[in-house]
Each structure stands twice: as structure tokens, then as C-alpha cells.
């Protein structure tokens, strides 16, 4: 889903940079205030894991592949704003070292994958989580649903940006992008759930969203 240079117009790229810079700035300020000791290595490890997992493209259908995104996984592990930082780091490394995703499109790429995948999808996760029983299975299921949504919603945002740029009409881009990514999202959901279950089995204390958003609130109050 990494947009290269040339797909998206100047104004759309500028808007992408503006919004992403704002949210990343907010995330930096929040992390500066409330990052915990154990989250320092965890942030590095999560960025490394997301980068590595993004390299492994899996075939989905008819000559198309997809790869893991990792934003929702990062959000469940570290919180939504820290997930934006992780995704911004991964996307910048990919852009500057590997020419994956254009430099002009870095803003929209951070928006599509970091902000939609990390923040918007996390909101869905948190809302879903309140409705289901507080068991590990339902926790993983909620994360899977939100992970699927993160990929599809990111691809919809990508289609909207392409359409606003005059690259391809909305009625063509939207169903094509959402259709392919509905399949890729199934892989995202499975990888997210499997990885989270491995972390929950070994170090549940590292998962910020575990056992649920309620605990996160108590934690936030304790910090004040």
C-alpha cells in the first residue's frame, strides 16, 4: 500500500504531510510525558518486527500479494500514538534506505498506515472490546477484527487520495482497492492475533491494552 512518488498530487501530499506531522508531533509530546521504562526497548523491537514482517509478501489471489501492516499490533502493544511513531519510523526507513514509498508521499503513507491503522483502527478495537467478554480469545478476536479494518480503511483512504489527485476516478479506485485489501486484511488479522497471543503467553504485562481499555484508564489516572 506504499504510495510511490507521482501517484498523488502536490496538494494531497501537502495535506498528508500536514496532518501526519501534527499527529506525530502530538505522539512525540505524549511519549515524552508518559513513555514507561519497558516501552523504550519495546518501541525499538516493535519497529524492527513490523519492518521485518512487512518484507514477507504473501500471495492472496490471482497474481496479487499483500504484506503485513502491523499498525494495530503496535497500537495494542504500545498505545495508539506510540504506534504512529513506530509506523512513521518504519515508513521513513523504507523510503530513505529502500526506495519503498515515495518521499513526496511519505505524509500520506504515514496517514494511511500509521494514523488510520494505529489510531482509527485502535478506536474500533477499544469499542469492540467493551462489547465482548473479557477473555483472551475475545481479546485476540477484537484485535483481529480491528486489524482487518486497518488494512481496508487504509486502502480506502489511499483510493480517495488517488481520486482527489485525478489519478484514477473514485468509482474505479474505491472498489478495486477495498476488494483486494479485504483479502489482504484476513492475513493481517491472523498475523496480528498469532503475534499477540505469543506476547500474551510470555509477557502479558508488556501489552498496554491488556486486559482491556478499562485497565488503561486506571493506569492513566494513576500517572497523573
Amino acid at each position: 500500500m506504499h504510495i510511490p512518488d507521482g501517484f498523488v498530487s502536490g496538494p494531497v501530499n501537502a495535506a498528508g504531510y500536514l496532518v501526519s506531522a501534527g499527529v506525530v508531533g502530538l505522539a512525540l509530546a505524549k511519549a515524552n510525558k508518559s513513555l514507561e521504562d519497558h516501552q523504550v526497548p519495546l518501541l525499538g523491537v516493535t519497529a524492527a518486527f513490523v519492518f521485518a514482517a512487512q518484507m514477507v509478501n504473501f500471495p492472496v489471489a490471482a497474481g496479487t500479494s499483500g504484506h503485513f501492516l502491523g499498525a494495530l499490533l503496535a497500537a495494542v502493544l504500545l498505545g495508539p500514538l506510540n504506534a504512529c511513531l513506530v509506523m512513521a519510523i518504519v515508513l521513513t526507513v523504507q523510503c530513505l534506505l529502500f526506495a519503498d514509498g515515495g518521499l513526496t508521499a511519505l505524509g500520506v503513507n504515514v496517514f494511511n498506515m500509521g494514523i488510520i491503522g494505529g489510531v482509527l483502527a485502535y478506536m474500533l478495537f477499544a469499542a469492540f472490546r467493551r462489547l465482548v467478554p473479557k477473555t483472551t480469545w475475545w481479546f485476540l478476536f477484537s484485535a483481529g477484527v480491528a486489524a482487518w479494518f486497518s488494512v481496508v480503511a487504509g486502502s480506502v483512504a489511499c483510493a480517495v487520495e488517488l481520486a482527489f489527485s485525478g489519478t484514477v476516478p473514485m468509482r474505479i479506485a474505491l472498489p478495486a482497492m477495498a476488494g483486494v485489501h479485504a483479502l489482504i486484511g484476513v492475513g493481517e488479522a491472523m498475523i496480528t492475533a498469532v503475534t499477540l497471543s505469543a506476547v500474551l503467553a510470555s509477557r502479558p504485562d508488556l501489552v498496554q491494552a491488556w486486559p482491556g481499555p478499562a485497565a488503561v484508564t486506571v493506569h492513566a489516572e494513576a500517572e497523573v
Binding site: M1, H2, I3, P4, D5, G6, L28, A31, N32, K33, L35, H38, V40, P41, L42, L43, G44, V45, A47, A48, F49, F51, A52, A53, M55, V56, N57, F58, P59, V60, G63, T64, S65, G66, H67, L85, I89, V93, C95, L96, L97, F98, A99, D100, G102, L103, T104, S155, C158, L162, T167, V168, I172, A173, A176, V180, H181, I184, S202, R203
Partner: protein
């Protein structure tokens, strides 16, 4: 507690490096979702101009100078994984340390 975190970090990094170094050479080479749509809907050539950033050391996830394709991909993957860790850990440490200093003042 601190030692446990080090072991967890080492274990996770080993998993990430295994993914990037051992599994990624066998990744699907089919175009991804966006590339596929771009090719099918006729706008892929818009992205084929010169990139805005021209100084990338490892274009297309293959370390230059290594003839064996799998080896080039594996080394590129390991370098990228370590780079992502260094950036993430470094940024988190800077953010964390600045706060500690402020509290001490």
C-alpha cells in the same frame, strides 16, 4: 525485571531477524494490492518517474554488489530490521531521557 526485558527484546529481535533474513527471500514476488490496482487501472506508469529521494543505498530490497538474489534480499532485510530497531530505540531513549532530566531539575 530489567533482565527479563532484555531477554524478551533479544528473543523478539531474533524472531524479526529470522523473518527478514530467512523467510523474506521466499516472499511472494507478485505485485502488492496497490501495484496490482495501478497496473489493472492503467496508472502504474505515473509512479515510474525518477524518485524524489535519489540516495537510497539499497533500492528494491536487494543489497547492491551481491549476485545471489536470496542473499542480497536477506542482507537487505537484516540491515533494515536493525535500522528500524536503532531508530525506534534511539527515539524512545531520547524522549525518555529528556523527561528524566526535566524531573531532576
Amino acid at each position: 525485571m530489567k533482565r527479563r526485558m532484555t531477554w524478551f527484546a533479544l528473543g523478539s529481535m531474533a524472531a524479526a531477524i529470522a523473518l527478514a533474513g530467512l523467510i523474506s527471500p521466499f516472499a511472494s514476488t507478485f505485485p502488492d494490492g496497490l501495484e496490482r490496482v495501478a497496473a489493472a487501472k492503467g496508472f502504474i506508469e505515473k509512479g515510474e518517474g525518477d524518485p524524489a529521494w535519489k540516495w537510497m543505498p539499497i533500492p528494491d530490497y536487494a543489497l547492491p554488489g551481491i549476485k545471489n538474489g536470496s542473499l542480497a534480499a536477506a542482507s537487505a532485510g537484516i540491515i533494515g530490521t536493525l535500522a528500524a530497531f536503532v531508530c525506534g530505540y534511539g527515539l524512545a531513549r531520547v524522549l525518555k531521557r529528556k523527561r528524566t532530566h526535566r524531573l531532576e531539575e
